[in-house]
């Protein structure tokens, strides 16, 4: 049964390309493990770093278990508050991934909606949307996110702020990423729009909304999937950068970027592990996503297809 499904997947072009690309297989295996760990963080990690009861300041600055003074109960050591590094990284990656996925989803929905409608409707609407996109693209995404964050901070009351921080972050990253999606989906829509199946649908009398989102959208998903994957890595890095700068998620629920920031101040006093392990983890995560995205771009592009 399992063998049969595997054969079926292997038979498709994309499946064949996947199982013949070491990079794709390794990176997706890494991602699979990371995703599983962060979804089941409560089961996988030995401690709950967010639970004050489980943290003891006595354990602070314990080095990794294999080095001198290390304790076998803290594999990767502890930070300045005595939290287990391994657990904090897993919980931190959960936050990073939630922010990454949510912000890309937000950017994709906004960008694809504007792009498809601009491409299909055309005229003045298209010009306005595309000029806004151009302007948006001139602002670096970090700057944009900082701007949104700053505005949000002044609008939202202090007490609400730590609760709302994650949503502000998602909005900030999403708003800086949507122009990519808008551009690609507009260009693809322009191509699809002139195909005869769209004319046929118009002649049958389907509404424009149906034509755009039932007929055209599924046909332009491939390139969008590719930029979404690469965008995901970008979003995770942006999140970490913002958290590193101290404008991201609050310290009580640290993400990878926050952990790196904490550890950074101890780097020169010898407690290298506090910043080193989250950073390595972030690099592996972003690299895996990027490599998978690269493979996907080649595999989904019929022009680059080899035999």
């Amino acid at each position: 049964m399992l063998n049969k499904t595997f054969n079926k997947i292997y038979d498709t072009d994309i499946g064949y390309s996947f199982f013949n690309s070491k990079i794709a297989m390794i990176s997706s295996a890494v991602l699979f493990i990371i995703f599983l760990c962060s979804i089941f963080a409560g089961v996988v990690s030995p401690y709950n770093p967010f639970d004050p009861a489980s943290v003891s300041l006595m354990d602070a600055f314990t080095p990794p278990s294999w080095s001198e003074g290390g304790s076998p109960s803290f594999i990767l050591g502890t930070d300045q508050q005595g939290r287990d590094m391994f657990s904090t990284i897993i919980y931190g990656s959960r936050i990073s991934l939630i922010v990454g996925f949510a912000s890309i989803l937000f950017a994709m929905i906004l960008g694809v909606f504007l792009g498809v409608t601009a491409g299909y409707i055309g005229g003045r609407y298209e010009i306005i949307v595309m000029r806004v996109t151009d302007v948006q693209l001139t602002i670096p995404s970090i700057l944009m996110a900082l701007l949104v964050n700053g505005i949000a901070k002044s609008v939202i009351s202090q007490s609400m702020h730590s609760e709302m921080a994650i949503y502000v972050l998602i909005f900030a990253i999403g708003i800086s990423e949507w122009p990519q999606f808008a551009r690609v989906s507009r260009a693809s829509t322009l191509v699809e729009k002139n195909k005869e199946y769209v004319s046929a649908s118009r002649i049958i009398g389907l509404s424009n909304v149906l034509i755009m989102f039932k007929h055209i959208l599924p046909n332009i998903l491939r390139p969008l999937l590719v930029i979404a994957t690469i965008g995901l890595a970008l979003a995770i890095i942006t999140e970490s950068t913002l958290s590193f700068l101290g404008v991201g998620v609050p310290p009580t629920t640290p993400s990878l970027g926050t952990l790196i920031r904490f550890g950074n101040s101890f780097l020169f006093s010898g407690e290298w592990w506090i910043t080193f392990f989250p950073a390595i983890f972030l690099i592996v995560l972003a690299l895996s996503i990027n490599l998978l995205g690269d493979w996907m771009r080649d595999a989904l592009n019929p022009k680059l297809k080899k035999r």
């Binding site: 064949y16 010009i127 195909k195 005869e196 199946y197 004319s199 046929a200 649908s201 118009r202 002649i203 049958i204 009398g205 389907l206 007929h215 599924p218 046909n219 035999r307």
Partner: protein
């Protein structure tokens, strides 16, 4: 063929081009596709050889093998190719020398076979200097001579132009000039006129014939058009699945084809000199059959109810004009600043009027740019007319603001498109493609009734019911066109617009699809607007014909009357120049 080989052996003479036992295969992941198997033929100087066959039969592969331009992973796995007794196979050094010098190549699409960034002059001189030992001035002189030879007026001046400044036919002439620039002995022309209009096709073929005689060249023409074969070639090869099924003298083969494939190719060609009721087809067993879908159309009558042919006027166009101007595009960039290009105006359709009655097929015929397709788009509301009125059933299809009133013709006007590969949504199953219009017009249809409707439609177009659960890419071009027809019929239309429905199909498939359209019309009394550039097809399909040129109606006449007594000089020219398979028989 055997006789000929024997003869040449006796004379101890080698033919100019000898292809022996040629095998080419394309290994892919799942299987190895044999693109040609044991292909053998010869060609003498001064001879034109035609290679015909349906798409995928391996015609182009042979041409590419001769100049060693087979795309990887394809490879020649056996056999030999000799020119003047020199082996070309696997002899890259010799091929480099010969390609472009001894062998000239003419490709199908003149739009892409010239480099748009270089002047004609540079492209010609570059080729000449690569192969011949001439200095720049001599090469230039020679280039001008060549352009004159292929019939380009004012060659001295035009040689300074870029490819985009030439029309399609002129560009193909330039390509031919390039092909003959280094005194080749062999010209290979792969569908040289497929992208061109009838009158230009005639000129190009005449030019090729002329050059063959004057320069004593060997020419290989690859085409799917039996008319071209009949009018130009001396010898012909019929191919199927990479195998030569028949070869011989053109006249002999066309009048008395022996193999099933050759008979099928010859018999499915629409005759140019008479109107026939249905196209004859050859079954795979080699039997002659005529239409096969008649019994199936009865089913749909049961669900639709019998339709009476009332002969009433269904569609009327009066003074329809469509002007494409650059203003709308230019203003997007110039933000209202006036510039010169903003005033360029193209009249795609100019004051066109005609009527269409129930049960009748009206033909719209014209060359590219004549506005045929624009008219279809105006009737179906895809393009707004600049001027004029369109009445469907005496109701105006456009309101005073020139907005299309789809309610007036709701579902009753449907269209079948040219390109079977883009006219079906690749992400939809056939079931969903056909049921979408049904659901739109019968909102509360029960699923059992929907299935019944689907079965009726898929039956009428002669496809199996299992095909409903497949995706479009699993079907061939002809089958996809059948699915398109089923989709068009799903809304129970009264007017069917067919925009070049068969020009992307092979002849035998074309015959099947045209028979199907005729059957459907007989049973359902549909009015049809049949758009084509192909005069023989138009003659077989239509009761009346409108001839268009540059958006203007030249003449409108009963079909037989038009072909027997064309009045307008343009119509006369079109009819005179169309390639006729009968010319040789």
């Amino acid at each position: 063929m055997d006789e000929r080989r024997l003869k040449s052996k006796i004379k101890k003479e080698m033919s100019f081009l000898e292809v022996k036992n040629l095998n080419i295969s394309y290994p892919t992941r799942k299987e190895t596709i044999v693109a040609s198997k044991n292909v053998e033929f010869t060609l003498e100087r001064g001879e034109i050889l035609g290679i015909v066959g349906e798409s995928g039969s391996g015609k182009s592969t042979i041409a590419n093998a001769i100049i060693n331009l087979i795309d990887p992973p394809g490879e020649i796995t056996g056999g030999s190719i000799k020119i003047d007794n020199n082996e070309l196979r696997d002899n890259e050094e010799l091929i480099q020398n010969i390609r472009g010098k001894k062998i000239g190549f003419v490709f199908q699409d003149p739009q892409t076979s010239l480099n748009p960034l270089f002047k004609i002059k540079d492209q010609l001189i570059e080729t000449i200097q690569t192969h011949l030992d001439l200095d720049y001035q001599d090469a230039l002189k020679r280039s001008i001579q060549l352009l004159e030879e292929v019939g380009i007026d004012n060659a001295e001046k035009r040689i300074e132009d870029y490819p985009h400044q030439f029309s399609g036919g002129m560009r193909q002439r330039v390509v031919i000039a390039l092909a003959i620039s280094c005194e080749p002995d062999l010209i290979i022309a792969d569908e040289p006129t497929t992208a061109l209009d009838v009158s230009i096709q005639y000129q190009i073929l005449e030019l090729l014939k002329d050059l063959t005689k004057k320069r004593n060249l060997g020419v290989i023409i690859i085409t799917h058009d039996m008319g071209v074969i009949a009018e130009t070639t001396n010898k012909v090869i019929v191919m199927r699945y990479g195998v030569i099924v028949e070869q011989g003298d053109t006249k002999e083969l066309l009048t008395n084809p022996k193999s099933t494939e050759a008979r099928s190719l010859v018999i499915s060609v629409p005759p140019t000199n008479k109107k026939i009721d249905r196209f004859k087809l050859i079954s795979p067993e080699g039997k002659e059959i005529t239409s096969d879908s008649k019994s199936l159309t009865k089913n749909i009558i049961k669900t639709w109810g019998v339709r009476e042919n009332t002969n009433q006027k269904l569609l009327e166009l009066t003074g329809v004009t469509k002007i494409f101007d650059d203003k709308s595009i230019a203003s997007n960039f110039s933000f209202g600043l006036k510039n010169d290009t903003a005033d360029k105006v193209v009249k795609a359709v100019d004051n066109v009027s005609f009527e269409l009655f129930e049960g009748e097929t009206l033909g719209l015929v014209g060359e590219s740019g004549s506005g045929k397709s624009t008219i279809a788009k105006i009737i179906t509301g895809l393009v707004r007319p600049t001027n004029g009125e369109i009445f469907y059933n005496n109701l105006s299809l456009y309101n005073s603001k020139r907005k299309y009133q789809i309610d007036k013709s709701r579902g009753q006007v449907q269209m079948i498109f040219q390109d079977p590969y883009s006219s079906l949504n690749p992400r939809f199953k056939v079931r969903d493609i056909i049921s979408e219009p049904i659901r739109l017009f019968q909102k509360n249809i029960s699923s059992s009734e929907l299935t019944k409707n689907l079965y009726d439609l898929i039956d009428i177009v002669g496809m199996s019911r299992q095909s409903l659960d497949r995706y479009p890419h699993e079907f061939s071009g002809g089958q996809r066109q059948r699915i398109s027809i089923a989709r068009a019929l799903a809304t129970r239309p009264r007017l069917l617009i067919c925009d070049e429905p068969t020009s992307a199909l092979d002849v035998s498939i074309q015959a099947q699809v045209l028979n199907l359209l005729k059957d459907i019309q007989d049973e359902l009394h549909l009015a049809m607007l049949f758009i084509s550039h192909d005069l023989p097809v138009i003659r077989q399909m239509c009761n009346r014909i409108v001839v268009l040129k540059n958006g203007i109606v030249c003449e409108t006449k009963e079909s037989e009357e038009l072909f027997n007594n064309p009045e307008h000089p343009y119509t006369q020219e079109l009819i005179r120049l169309m390639p006729k398979i009968e010319s040789i028989i």
